[in-house]
């Protein structure tokens, strides 16, 4: 119970309430309390101001783009930074001539976020598909097996330290080690095996329109593509998903496990019961991983190839919201381009806040009481 101290000191019977020293003491009490309250409340208010500033600044600076494109921004896949001039064509597809000169039309710059939303969603989902089963398996091992082998401590320290490695380090590893390896070994091997499988041609070929005709050409395997980005993301979120799901599983009451074992369940069946018991917390761990993957910037910028187009192939370069911001924001001219980038930033912010709120609700509700 935190009682207000000034109330106590005021209520306390003082032998010389009218005397000098006691009164000045009490005044200094009140002054100190007031100052502490002011400083603490002020600092806490700054936290609220920070969130307010974040939303407000992004909203106002993105306003030109929001006004221009509205919500259509989210489903448009055009991203033309500069004005484009091209010959005007009539309804029949013929170039319009006037006085022997080709009439040109100007296409205004246009911006749409669909390619980066696709890139973010796709890379995060692939990363989760790889990382989540591995993390759950490892978390079960850490909770059920590692303590008996006395390796839970070192393993946990390792995983927590690896969670602290900055994304720049993963990016450099991805750029200089993983990407060349994918380019020289994995990519060609997959291509050789799957190229002639019917229905998988889209993975290795893309259709482009060159001079009016549609040409199908092979996608060059560069190693810096959606596959590499997703793999690096998967490795990056492994530590966090593992350690959170370990905490969630640790919080499963011992009686639950013992109960299933007493009913004759095998080791694995009792594990399934554990997973079921902690399912909302585990879902929270997945959401935390998703939030991390979606907001990840440096590593993904270095390995995903940075091509602002939707291509379903895992061997095509792509772009995420964060990598688009990292690549273009510094060079963006003020105006619609910058406003559109800020619109993307706003979408990214709202999305990751949403994931975080859901994750925290789920994890804190389940794991915290036993976790501490």
């Amino acid at each position: 119970m935190t009682t207000d101290a000034s109330a106590i000191s005021a209520a306390a019977p003082s032998p010389n309430a009218s005397g000098g020293p006691a009164r000045s003491l009490r005044r200094s009490f009140r002054f100190g309390d007031a100052m502490l309250g002011l400083v603490c409340r002020g600092s806490a208010a700054i936290i609220a101001l920070m969130l307010g500033a974040l939303v407000l600044v992004l909203l106002t600076s993105a306003m030109p783009a929001i006004k221009q494109f509205g919500l259509g921004f989210l489903v448009s896949s055009e991203w033309r930074v500069n004005e484009l001039e091209r010959p005007l064509k009539d309804a029949a597809g013929q170039v319009v001539m006037e006085d022997g000169e080709i009439v040109m039309e100007t296409i205004k710059p246009a911006f749409g976020a669909l390619p980066v939303i696709y890139g973010t969603a796709m890379s995060s989902l692939i990363a989760l598909a790889i990382a989540v089963p591995l993390s759950f398996g490892a978390a079960l091992f850490l909770v059920r097996v590692a303590p008996t082998l006395r390796i839970a401590g070192p393993l946990s320290f390792l995983i927590e330290f690896l969670a602290a490695i900055p994304s720049l380090a993963y990016g450099i590893w991805g750029l200089f080690v993983l990407a060349p390896f994918l380019q020289s070994h994995v990519g060609p091997a997959i291509k050789a095996t799957l190229e002639n499988v019917p229905g998988l041609r889209w993975m290795f070929y893309e259709s482009v329109t060159i001079a009016g005709t549609v040409v199908e050409r092979p996608i060059p395997i560069t190693g810096r593509d959606m596959l590499c980005g997703s793999l690096v993301l998967a490795i990056m979120i492994l530590p966090i998903v593992t350690s959170v799901s370990r905490d969630v599983l640790k919080a499963v009451p011992r009686t639950q496990i013992e109960g299933t074992l007493a009913l004759g369940a095998t080791w694995w069946q009792s594990c399934v019961a554990m997973l079921r018991y902690g399912r909302s917390g585990l879902f929270g761990a997945v959401m935390l991983g998703l939030a991390r993957a979606a907001g990840e910037t440096m590593a993904i910028t270095m390995v995903i190839g940075n091509n602002n187009q939707i291509n379903p192939s895992p061997f095509a370069p792509a772009q995420t919201m964060a990598s688009l911001l990292a690549n273009e924001f510094a060079e963006a001219s003020e105006g619609l381009h910058q406003a559109s980038l800020l619109y993307v930033a706003l979408v990214l912010l709202v999305m990751s806040l949403l994931f975080n709120v859901i994750a925290r609700r789920l994890v804190v509700g389940k794991a915290s009481p036993a976790g501490h």
Binding site: R41, A44, L58, L140, A164, A326
Partner: protein
């Protein structure tokens, strides 16, 4: 029949046990592979001039990263100077004034939410909130500055420090507060002389963790500090940072600079490892003394 079913169950269980062990093994190998590679190549690229020299401008002999190391230290000091007092004070509020729940619990929620803001968005906020207004004020074209970078880092630090401070203060037994108040101490005296000192060790651990977290950040600095190849100590100028310099070198075309990037990553990892180890040691010693006391 029944024994056959039991046999299947047992086999499935054994198989899944193997799968779980394999998952743990795969994760540990993968992560060791990554960090081992970073350490191995970095160790081959590092030498004394990395710490003592500044960039030369000659791509074949790019010099060292002294400017970037100093820059990062200055940025961290500035960020901590802003972030630590604000973070600790809000943490004190969240813990010691939690009876004001109408204000305290939304603040706690907001602090939680803020820890999940993508760092690139923080960088953009720093640009819009510090760089652009300062440019208008001084009528410079664009005034990227160390101050803007430090502000962005502080933005990331404050919610982390606030939440860890709160958690640590909540571990201080209530009897300490009650005893202090019963002896006639004011609330301010109780908080400043009893509660905060008894959680000092764990709070400083939380602060170290927050500093370690922002030490590896690159994205918030891209549009705020911008990076620099000069040995500057004036934070009102574009400011060098280890992470920015590593990023520039790693994505650039020159092999000698890429070498430097590897060395830089090694230095960064070494710093983070030492900090993490220190935190663990301090935390366990603190836990031991706490156990002894109670």
């Amino acid at each position: 029949m029944a024994s056959a079913r039991f046999e299947t169950r047992r086999l499935t269980s054994d198989a899944m046990f193997g799968v779980c062990a394999a998952c743990a093994a795969v994760i540990v190998t993968l992560l060791l592979l990554v960090s081992g590679y970073l350490v191995f190549i970095g160790a081959g690229a590092i030498n004394l001039s990395f710490f003592t020299d500044v960039p030369t401008g000659d791509v074949a002999q790019p010099g060292g990263m002294r400017h970037a190391i100093e820059g990062t230290l200055i940025l961290l000091a500035l960020a901590a100077a802003i972030g630590v007092p604000l973070g600790v004070a809000s943490g004190v509020y969240l813990s010691e004034y939690s009876h004001e729940w109408l204000f305290a619990s939304p603040m706690r929620f907001i602090a939680d939410v803020l820890t999940g803001v993508p760092s690139i968005v923080v960088g953009i906020l720093g640009y819009e909130l510090v760089v652009v207004p300062v440019s208008r004020w001084t009528s410079n074209s664009v005034s990227f500055s160390g101050y803007a970078g430090a502000a962005a880092l502080a933005f990331i630090m404050i919610p982390i420090v606030a939440r860890t401070t709160e958690e640590m203060l909540r571990l201080v037994p209530k009897t300490y507060r009650e005893g202090s108040l019963a002896l006639g101490a004011s609330k301010a005296q109780t908080v400043l002389r009893v509660v905060l000192p008894s959680a000092f060790g764990s709070i400083s651990t939380g602060i170290m963790l927050a500093i370690a977290r922002v030490a590896g950040e690159t994205a918030p600095l891209l549009f705020t500090a911008l990076g620099s190849r000069l040995l500057t100590r004036d934070p009102s100028e574009p400011f060098p940072s280890l992470t920015l310099q590593i990023y520039t070198y790693a994505t650039g075309p020159y092999p000698e600079q890429k070498n430097l990037a590897w060395a830089g990553i090694l230095v960064l990892l070494a710093i983070l490892f030492v900090v993490n180890l220190l935190i663990r040691v301090v935390a366990s010693r603190h836990a031991a003394t706490r156990m002894g006391k109670s």
